[in-house]
């Protein structure tokens, strides 16, 4: 892999990671704001729960970011190997999600969760071999 090609691949993987993280964080933020779906369903029925989700601007933004991430993945797969792109983007997304959840969603990401994220991140990377 030439240095230029290597940089291009890194940029493609980075764009997948950024858009996937944005999608996950926006979706999680939307669900936290909406509240417990089980309670909403008990109160307003399934239609009420679906309405609460699909009328949330954050949820729509999150889904758009997820779609962008999917197309970034397709684009990257047309230029680089699946065995590099899929595990690299999936494992890096785990780490970036943990950081984003800590600083943007203010979740309490304690040592136990960091260890779990690290284990899953390494495990996903090893699954490609």
């Amino acid at each position: 892999m030439s240095p230029v090609h290597g940089l291009a691949t890194a940029a493609m993987i980075a764009s997948i990671v950024v858009t996937a993280t944005a999608g996950d964080v926006l979706t999680a933020s939307a669900m936290r704001r909406i509240g417990d779906l089980d309670e909403i369903r008990a109160r307003s029925g399934m239609a009420g729960a679906i309405r609460a989700v699909v009328t949330s601007g954050r949820f729509i933004s999150g889904v758009l970011c997820m779609a962008l991430s999917f197309f970034s993945l397709l684009f990257a797969l047309s230029h680089a190997d699946l065995s590099l792109v899929a595990p690299a983007s999936a494992s890096m997304t785990f780490v970036s999600n943990a950081a984003a959840a800590k600083f943007l969603l203010h979740e309490n990401v304690d040592r136990r969760r960091w260890v779990a994220v690290f284990c899953v991140c390494c495990g996903v990377a090893l699954l490609a071999h």
Partner: protein, 162 residues
């Protein structure tokens, strides 16, 4: 404040997230392998794929995955749900070996072991970070984690979670 909001039904929802994701991806894989190779010049093949039973079943399962994933995010942290449901990667690998007869190398078994350890770690810990919430004029809730606890107690109502 971090605490567990989990009960048997919620663990079941996490299991549904894990299983629908793993089986959905596997069904899509089987469906796509039964079709001719899709190239950028023949993208119409993707529309044909949408009418095949394996792809339809895969899409139905992935819709189930997304619904259960959203449900889980409504009562648990993102940093709890993602590792807790990562056993899906392990199930995909096992389905690949025992159903699709793919080879699993030593490195993959090590990866499977690491993911399992990660899942064990996170699921034994708390699942939800309680945050002060503002009640606005429409009665909807918004997160205000930047405030100190004292300010929050004075000016906001906490969201009660079972």
């Amino acid at each position: 404040m971090v605490h567990s909001t989990m009960n048997a039904r919620r663990y079941l929802v996490l299991a549904v997230v894990t299983l629908t994701s793993a089986f959905g991806d596997t069904f899509l894989d089987i469906g796509m392998k039964k079709l001719p190779l899709v190239s950028f010049h023949h993208l119409g093949t993707l529309l044909v794929a949408l009418r095949t039973p394996w792809i339809i079943a895969g899409i139905i399962l992935l819709i189930g995955f997304f619904a259960s994933y959203l449900t889980a995010l409504s009562w648990a942290d993102l940093t709890y749900v993602l590792p807790a449901t990562s056993l899906g990667y392990v199930i995909v690998a096992l389905l690949g070996k025992y159903w699709l007869h793919e080879q699993i190398s030593g490195a993959r078994w090590l990866g499977i072991a690491l993911i399992t350890v990660g899942v064990g770690f996170v699921t034994r810990g708390p699942s939800y970070t309680e945050m002060p919430a503002l009640v606005d004029s429409q009665g909807s809730r918004s997160v205000s984690a930047a405030r100190s606890d004292d300010e929050a107690v004075a000016t906001t109502a906490k969201v009660g979670r079972p």
